[in-house]
Symmetry: C2
Subunit: 496 residues, 2 copies
């Protein structure tokens, strides 16, 4: 089929991913190395993600605020592990103006006394504010979120997955006790899990990162790991219990009920435009993008098929009426998002345009549909393909149709996850799981010992410890790499 994506997923998954992005007009590489331009269709998906998450954050008591883009070098250095973790990928501002050099070329001028770092994450600059805002136990908990751009210089950028600049939200909270901060860390992980399952239709494994995979400066890092269609893992969101490390670094202290000054406990948590990459790789097919209805910028696209100019007006009026009726309906509190594509373009081209962009339901209205008061429609996930039905019935069923697609996408992703997740207790099985002829990877659940020797051994296969799942098999086994007995199991996988 000449209009499908080339190569297919089986032929070359990585190039297929790039082609889906190009042809769906989601984003493009910018001339600024490692940075991307998020085009309207891609940004529209991000807006849906933002709106839903933002509401969940607010419902759980968090307020948005905004902190500076630039962080003084001395701030970043306040937490030793933190600065070590980010030093290699920092964009550094050293000058504050441009001036003409002797040969007429514009060059940086006005050198800063202290270099400024474009935030790779904001713990240290937000900590400076929190140390002023938190004085008494009455000021706690302090529950803040920020929607922002961050920058981590990437040597091997990949759109949505690893770009130097990306968009994200970063939550930062302060608590009076360790227990409360740990609760918050896990509560936000749960919100990420529910959102990823319910809206992106992607099942995830919830777990804790091992020591060498932790956020620089965190005491514990929790993660949700999703499986892509090539069997690789993608870290879809993380939530960090920071203990008192950053409170110490930024001097966040409060007077407790007994009038004694105490060091506070903090957390941070974030998800990014990476979620769009996860959605593409979890659901896309060889025809292009497939968007779960709940996050689709357009859920229903109406394509008028005008073969004779004289029918145009009547067909358009019929489409307008359809749109009007459907856009009054709601799913999960949101009005349905529906458009009519009236562009001058042949209908085959138009059809493929919307297939590649992953619009959940495509409706075609020609003169026959008009005369019979019907519509022809297809569901992008192929559950229903070119079905001709009464327009009243279509309107009546549209919410259920969209929710059915949403559910079927989740079920299909769940089946893939469970088909490619295996429990392994021998080194031979471990190795063969990552060396299949069909190049399909897997999620391997195997015994785990917190030992750098393990990291080294699995690194040789390009495998990493994704997490120590919160739900553990109740069994003792032997670590495949150190031979030591353990009752801890980890999820191992190749990853993005």
């Amino acid at each position: 089929m000449k209009n499908a994506i080339s190569p297919t997923r089986n032929e070359n998954f990585s190039e297929w991913y790039q082609q889906v992005i190009n042809q769906a007009e989601l984003a493009e590489n910018s001339p600024v190395r490692g940075c991307m331009v998020i085009r309207p269709w891609g940004y529209g998906i991000w807006e849906q993600i933002q709106r839903e998450l933002d509401q969940k954050f607010k419902d759980s008591g968090h307020a948005n605020a905004y902190f500076p883009l630039l962080i003084p070098l001395s701030f970043l250095q306040k937490e030793a592990e933190h600065v070590d973790g980010f030093a290699k990928e920092c964009a550094v501002v050293t000058h504050h103006r441009l001036e003409q050099s002797a040969n007429g070329k514009l060059i940086p001028a006005g050198e800063l006394e202290e270099p400024l770092i474009i935030r790779p994450t904001s713990e240290t600059v937000i900590g400076a504010s929190f140390s002023r805002w938190v004085q008494s136990y009455r000021d706690l908990p302090l529950l803040i979120n920020q929607w922002a751009n961050v920058l981590r210089w990437e040597m091997r950028p990949r759109i949505f997955l690893r770009t130097s600049e990306f968009l994200w939200q970063e939550g930062h909270t302060v608590h009076a006790s360790k227990a409360e901060a740990l609760d918050e860390t896990l509560k936000m992980l749960d919100i990420y899990e529910r959102f990823t399952i319910d809206y992106l239709a992607i099942p995830v494994i919830k777990g804790e990162k091992c020591s060498w995979e932790r956020f620089p400066g965190a005491v514990n890092t929790y993660t949700i790991e999703a499986m892509m269609q090539d069997g690789k893992a993608l870290q879809a969101g993380t939530s960090h219990f920071l203990g008192q490390n950053f409170a110490q670094a930024s001097d966040i202290r409060f007077v407790n009920k007994d009038g004694i000054k105490e060091l506070a406990w903090t957390t941070s948590w974030g998800v990014s435009t990476r979620l769009i990459g996860a959605m593409i790789m979890a659901h896309g097919d060889d025809d292009g993008l497939v968007i779960p209805p709940l996050v689709a910028p357009t859920q229903v696209i109406i394509v008028p098929i005008v073969r004779n100019e004289q029918d145009a007006e009547a067909i358009y009026a019929y489409c307008d009426d359809l749109k009007k009726k459907i856009s009054r309906k709601k799913i999960k509190g949101q009005y349905l998002r529906i458009s009519i594509d009236k562009r001058e373009m042949n209908s085959g081209e138009k059809k493929w345009y919307h297939i590649k962009r992953g619009v959940p339901v495509r409706v075609e209205v020609g003169i026959k549909e008009l005369e019979q008061n019907m519509v022809s429609y297809s569901c992008r996930d192929n559950t229903k393909s070119i079905l001709k039905i009464d327009s009243g019935a279509f309107i009546k069923e549209i919410q259920r149709t969209l929710l059915t697609i949403q559910k079927s996408m989740l079920n299909s992703a769940k089946s893939k996850l469970s088909a490619h997740t295996k429990t392994v207790t021998s080194l031979k099985d471990f190795k063969s799981a990552f060396q299949r002829k069909d190049k399909l990877n897997a999620f391997i659940l195997a015994p785990f010992i917190e030992d750098k020797e393990v990291e080294k051994a699995i690194g040789e296969f390009g495998v990493t410890v994704r997490c120590i799942p919160l739900i553990q098999p109740k069994a003792t086994a032997t670590c495949l790499f150190t031979g030591k007995p353990t009752n801890t199991w980890a999820l191992y996988a190749k990853s993005y």
Copy 2:
């Protein structure tokens, strides 16, 4: 009154402004020179502004997208006037990592081949994408908006008014003809005007900037100018007709209906977090902030007055019920925003807390109100002060009450604008208008000639040409500074 803002507006308007911001917890200076932290209450106002404007942009056919933060120096140089205009205030990224120097200090490393500029505005980087996106007349008009942070290094920063980093939206559009691009420029100016009047309750003068006040690289710059309570002007939004300057610089061309390649026409337009500064200075009083109801993060605050612990439960239940009933109501499509302040704090302190933050309606519920099924309430704009009425009547009237405050705030700002706007035709009157004993400034409408001599002469009084109003007096007069006859009139004022 010990809890009011000190100094008052009359005593020191500029210091009063800073104190209102501090005490309403809107924002604070950050340790990064010239940058601000927007605190939750300030950011909440920005979220209201964003939501309303975003809807208006979408309703008029614009889509959001996102472009890189960093602009290669060579891009900025593509338009000569543009780079001249911004060279003195550019933050320059020159390195992409940090490393330990010989003495153990962290220093910038990995010098970039070409310096990158943090966007002061995005015409040039967006132009690079537009030149790829626009191929044919079918791709036009291209109507894009971006919500983003930008950076212009400020020597004399002032929160919300002039900060090195600020948040804004920047619209960028491409058109097939000059007329269409000009239409768009003025249409967006109208959207800004309606929003500023209808939501911020601030009347504005719409006009065109004279040549030396134009956006660097623009053919025409249009503006809305608002009057602050000290009689100074604040530029609240601008819309630029860029002609073919940036299309030329970025090579944005399209094949027209006749198959011939043409240079496109572009526009750009923006408003920023500065609007919050305008709102503070247009409406604040000596007690603190006064927020127009339509953009207030909380429109109604309920303060339970508990004098005996035994009444607490019943009073809270009564407040919860009130909140539930009111939050079901809508104004302009938005559910009412209402909170209950249950913090442990004495009720006088609490009352001042909300007064200073400018919450439009404050409700007090004590045991008496509960027993009589009443509420006591005050309107922040002083139209109604501690009125005790039946709770049913209060709920029934709440939307009208809020809209009345909104309207009364606009009327009051309109009166101030008209009282302090004067038409002047002699140099003596011009001078005395800006040298009043009460330090109150004015908007002066006077004859205008596009001559640098004028700029110099008025600069001596610290006055600038704010705009050439779109609505002009139909009269010929003599320019006060050049003595030349003219039928063009300009708005002169001191400004922020």
